[in-house]
Amino acid sequence: VPRSCDWRKAAGVISPIKDQKSCKCCWAIAAAGNIESLWNIKHRQSVEVSFQELLDCDRCGDGCSGGFVWDAYMTVLNYSGLASEKDYPYQENSRTHKCQAKKYQKVAWIEDFIMLPRGELGMAQYLATEGPITVTINMKLLQNYQRGVIEATPITCDPQQVDHSVLLVGFGKSKSKEEKWAVSSQSHTRRSIPYWILKNSWGVNWGEEGYFRLHRGSNACGITKYPYTAQVTKPVKKQQQRVTCPP
């Protein structure tokens, strides 16, 4: 596992920050972001997929009432891919519409989807070698979050009560300028804080330009509860150099 990894630094891998507005579609945006980034890594081709399609064509038919990333992946498999965001754009309202999946050409598709083992080391390894993954966390502390690394406890952020899906795009350790003086029983020691970088779906005016950071190594806010990812295979004829996560 490398010391740090930030897929935002790889050109075209991470699409712009979305704003879910009054629709509870974090699950669809997270899954779409996962597929977009994997598609770019495997095919070296930038795509923005339609998450409105995921909402409209969800098997429960009420995508704006909340959902799960595995529902999104099932929809992608059922419809053999996703249309582009340009062709099938987000409606920015709190309701879904008639499924129009068959009307548009597919720009990306998946082979399968999996849940990763729940350890943070394994998640970091997968993230660094394969690409961004989705996680579902307890979002309680995000209401008042502005910037920095959230280091929660199970009391301040219950890891069992997860209710918000986001895309995990990197990890690292805090730089010295934002380190705090930690008081130990023996002496004053300076520590660096390992963190995850997560892409949220509340617009660029929230958090760190739409992103936030959570402590890594303590299952902060239940980050290890549902680490899911689509599986996108590399085209057989294209034998390009392996894409690695920029540090």
Binding site: G66, L116, M139, V149, I150, E151, A152, T156, Q161, H164
Partner: protein, 104 residues
Amino acid sequence: GSLRGQDPGPRPLKLKEVFTLFQIQYNRSYSNPAEYAHRLDIFARNLAQAQRLQEEDLGTAEFGVTPFSDLTEEEFGQLYGHPRAAGRALNVDGKVGSGEWAQS
């Protein structure tokens, strides 16, 4: 009597002034004075909560005014969380890496 003595520096903003800045920044308006007072009260509680979080947090996070500062915790959860989590989640527990899926 010195100039320094006459200039105490910038004074802290009052709650209503901070709330007005919040309304401008996030384009918020309220339908009537009662609603305004209600949202101001929630805003004040959230600022206090942010201060508590700031003190409790072990990392480097900063908490304060955000686009959601005029919402109660319950409203925030209802608007942005997904309530299907608790019931559905149980069905997939224990399936890590097995490749098997719960039937329900």
